[in-house]
């Protein structure tokens, strides 16, 4: 047994531009997008024929035939077929959880290198057959004679032909994520103006990142897309102000402009021990320091569905003796502008910090210039499983630019009232 814990280096990230639902990737499968993304990472870092320790990743919306999605994708890449792979799934936290698995294995010396990845398509989505039809078909499958099969067919009813399309709804509350967040927005008094401002920032920052070439080695073109389809460099408060509320009723503050659209895309991150990186002539961009998950009771305690990171981050930074203000960059996944703003407000609120977090003083405010400075999900879009990889790749590169020892915080909220957070340190 290896008793020492090794530093985990992040060597680079790669993704395809994110597309809107039923856009250019409408006919691309999860496996198509993931294979392309992995191969782009392989080419960029010269990993052809390499047997990596493990590739870990997943998708949120997944066909049952894709039970081994990551392994099947790896087999389609230029990596050695001797590279093992594993599927994980934790809603929007999937990509970051994949990285935590890879990081932990590297840290413990179980593997020396690995890729964390994620993908999602909302266009090529799995459609389930009606539950009653499914029961009927399974019965038919079990039938022994043709007579029995015909008899079963008489049980067929028109309603059974309606398919079950996956819906973005919390199973235990019946509310969509947007509906949940509209409640949170109201509870925290988040204004339309504040949400639209955050959305405009997201677009402008992402556009600027593309302009200055920051994305050049992070994004590989796919099916005619070179930049994220959702990106509106000319986004403005005036334009956003024209949109009608999408959640929270006619007086709601949430619109299609300050909520992420359903999107398609994939991302991957190369991680390794420092020795492996040196042996392969690769320079670490950052180190994966630590991670923390948390969950809230959005069902019974009626807590904000997407506020779990507000609980995870204090645990994480306490473990390292850090204050919330001690970071050089914050990457907070923008599922909805309101959810980001509510999280920030929670950390500043003496009552939340005392009553929910048991702290005598609030965590405080963060410098807004350090929040998602290269754009966020509102600008880029949010293919559920791919967002974690996008965040890690971009933050690692950004911290490397800022210099060794700089710190970055990642925070991702997820369905089911969960949150995944992590600390990165510039190399």
């Amino acid at each position: 047994m290896n008793s020492s814990v090794r530093r985990v280096a992040i060597l680079g990230g790669m993704r395809i531009p994110f597309a809107r639902q039923d856009g250019p990737y409408a006919k691309a499968s999860n496996q198509d997008m993931l294979t392309t993304t992995l191969d782009a990472l392989v080419s960029r870092y010269g990993l052809e024929g390499e047997a990596l320790g493990e590739v870990v990743g997943g998708a949120v919306l997944k066909h049952s035939r894709d039970f081994n999605l990551v392994r099947e994708s790896v087999l389609g890449t230029k990596l050695s077929p001797a590279t093992s792979a594993m599927d994980v799934q934790q809603a929007c936290g999937t990509g970051l959880e994949a990285a935590i698995v890879v990081a932990n294995k590297i840290a413990l010396g179980q593997i020396d290198s690995g890729i964390a990845c994620g993908v999602d398509t909302t266009s090529d989505a799995p459609i389930g057959v009606n539950e009653d039809l499914r029961a009927l078909l399974l019965d038919a499958n079990r039938a022994k004679t043709n007579q029995q099969r015909v008899a079963l067919l008489t049980r067929l009813r028109p309603h059974m032909l309606l398919p079950e399309i996956p819906r973005n709804v919390e199973p235990r509350t019946g509310l969509s994520m947007g509906d949940h967040t509209a409640i949170t927005a109201r509870e925290w008094g988040i204004t339309r103006q504040a949400q639209d401002e955050l959305a405009v920032d997201s677009h402008h920052h992402l556009a600027a990142a593309y302009e200055r070439g920051f994305q050049d080695d992070l994004v590989t073109p796919y099916l005619g897309l070179e930049r994220d389809q959702n990106l509106r460099p000319d986004s403005s408060l005036e334009k956003l102000a024209r949109l009608k509320p999408a959640f929270g009723g006619p007086e709601g503050t949430m619109t299609a402009g300050n909520s992420t659209p359903l999107s398609d895309g994939a991302s991957a991150v190369l991680m390794a021990s420092e020795e492996w990186a040196a042996a392969h002539g690769l320079e670490p961009l950052a180190f994966f320091v630590d991670a923390q998950t948390a969950a809230v009771d959005h069902v019974h305690a009626r807590e904000g569905l997407l506020l779990a990171p507000a609980y995870a981050v204090p645990k994480l930074i306490d473990r390292h003796g850090l204050a919330l203000g001690d970071f050089d960059q914050y990457e907070i996944h923008e599922a909805f502008a309101a959810q980001v703003l509510a999280t920030l407000r929670a950390w500043e609120d003496p009552v939340f910090c005392k009553e929910r977090l048991g702290r005598d003083a609030p965590l405080g405010a963060i410098e807004r210039a350090k929040l998602n400075p290269n754009g966020g999900s509102l600008g880029a879009g949010h293919p559920f499983g791919a967002t974690g990889g996008r965040l890690i790749g971009a933050l690692a590169k950004s911290l490397h630019e800022k210099g060794a020892g700089t710190r970055g915080l990642i925070s991702v909220c997820a369905a089911g009232g969960e949150g995944v957070t992590a600390i990165l340190e510039g190399a």
Partner: protein
């Protein structure tokens, strides 16, 4: 309990008719119910920048378990957190119209000049229509006479006009009251805030309550604030006095009920019902003060709460009033109080943290046709409170008065119908109060937690138009 007009107007048909012909539509006021929380609905707690009373307000709201909201203001949120008050956030800009409140509490202590009075508008304008039926508006400020800076004093004095006007706008049985605190003193606010938030203050509106420093730190058991206390109520065989005895007993006191010997039978029944004791004596008799003091000292080792409730009217216009009518009213309503107080103080009958509560009347404030004697006697009661407050404080006790407006009793039932109807409706609640409303106010003043409340005259009049 409610008068017949109020009952009628609250039937579906009555409501429709009242609306169509523009009659006043009094709501049946909520009254104290031991099975209900102190305040039955959410409280919005706001404040002007620089507010200093957040701590005690938040502490009370936390103690009573009120579902509290605050605007997003650092000092309010910090005060809530420090008090362990799990306050939600209210933002008028994003809150839906369905978000209503049972009480709006506003700390105006941070207002230092008249230009900042706009904070009242900023807080209340978007929220005043969110007040529920029988809701509460409570504004907290600093006692103007004790504020040294002139502009701050002006601004604080202005609060009175605001609250009195709001009290007239809220309707639906809601009330608005102002609490002034002594600047720089750690005020004991809880007893008063509980009273004003709860249905106990049902008929108290448009009032200004001044709270000074506290000599005692006696923390009441809020479910029985008068437990272990001895209270004497004069004129308790019937009417308002009887209601006072009942409420004081409910709040845990042993009550000694006093009335004239002619009422001895009724008095004994009241005492028996309450598990108290009775004392039949005419308070104007020469030996009354001694008899009372003897009784209290012998049987109870003293008294904690003394309520001077006995009072009479003998109405006649001045020109037709004989001297006897004048003298009788003055003797019972005024001079007897002075004599009894003097004896009790002299004999050191008041125990620590004791209370004297007198009963004045709006007739003593506004005057009343045909009541020159009564008006004089009830204004004199206010004089007694003012004259002895300082001495009382020195003795570690308080002296205050309630001034009832139109209360539904045998006294008011005897008034001719037209005048009676006018009296009933000429207030912000469009109805008369009940004896229990006066009694609840007395019980609040009597509470061991109300030691900062001294030298106050609190009207229980539904914000009567008379003498406002």
């Amino acid at each position: 309990m409610a008068d017949r007009y109020t009952e009628l107007i609250n039937t579906p048909i009555g409501k429709t008719i009242a609306k169509q012909i523009g009659l006043p539509a009094p709501v049946v006021l909520e009254r104290f119910d031991p099975n209900r929380p102190v305040i039955d609905g959410p409280v919005l707690f706001g404040g002007a920048p620089g507010a200093t009373l957040g701590g005690p307000v938040a502490a009370t709201l936390a103690h009573i378990g009120a579902e509290t909201y605050t605007p997003l203001q650092e000092e309010l949120r910090s005060a809530a957190a420090a008090a362990g008050l799990d306050a939600k956030i209210f933002n008028a800009e994003t809150a839906g119209a369905e978000q209503t409140f049972k009480a709006l509490v506003f700390d105006a202590s941070g207002i230092t000049d008249s230009t900042q009075l706009v904070e009242l508008h900023r807080f209340f304008s978007p929220t005043i229509r969110r007040i529920r039926s029988c809701g509460r508006v409570i504004v907290l400020g600093l006692t103007p006479e004790l504020v040294s800076h002139p502009r701050q004093r002006v601004a604080q004095r202005a609060l009175e006009g605001f609250v009195r006007s709001v009290a007239k706008e809220v309707k639906k049985g809601a009330s608005a009251n102002l609490v002034y605190l002594t600047p720089g003193v750690d005020a004991r606010l809880e007893s008063t805030l509980r009273f004003l938030l709860s249905p106990r203050s049902a008929y108290v509106s448009g009032q200004v309550i001044r709270i000074g420093s506290s000599a005692n730190a006696e923390e009441p058991d809020w479910s029985a604030p008068l437990a272990g206390k001895v209270a004497l109520v004069t004129g308790a065989a019937r009417g308002i006095g009887k209601a006072m005895a009942e409420v004081l007993a409910r709040d845990g006191a042993h009550v000694v009920v006093l009335d004239v010997p002619q009422a001895a039978e009724a008095l004994a029944t009241v005492a028996a019902d309450l598990g108290g004791s009775d004392l039949a004596v005419d308070i104007t008799s020469e030996d009354a003060p001694k008899l009372i003091a003897d009784h209290l000292l012998e049987h109870h080792g003293g008294v904690d709460v003394f309520v001077h409730n006995a009072g009479i009217t003998r109405d006649k216009t001045l020109a037709r009033m004989d001297e006897e009518r004048w003298q009788l009213v003055l003797a019972i309503n005024t001079s007897a109080i002075e004599a009894i107080n003097a004896e009790l103080v002299e004999r050191q009958a008041f125990r620590a943290n004791g209370r004297i509560v007198c009963v004045s009347s709006i007739a003593g404030i506004a005057g009343n046709f045909g009541q020159t004697n009564y008006g004089t006697s009830k204004a004199a009661v206010i004089g007694i409170v003012n004259a002895y407050a300082e001495e009382a404080a020195g003795l570690g006790i308080t002296i205050n008065a309630v001034a009832p407006g139109f209360i539904e009793t045998q006294m008011t039932a005897a008034i001719p119908i037209t005048i009676r109807e006018a009296g009933r409706r000429m207030n912000s609640m469009s109805q008369g109060g009940l004896p229990v409303d006066v009694a609840e106010t007395v019980a609040w003043l009597a509470s061991p937690g109300s030691d900062g409340v001294n030298n106050n005259i609190v009207r229980v009049c539904g914000q009567s138009l008379l003498g406002a």
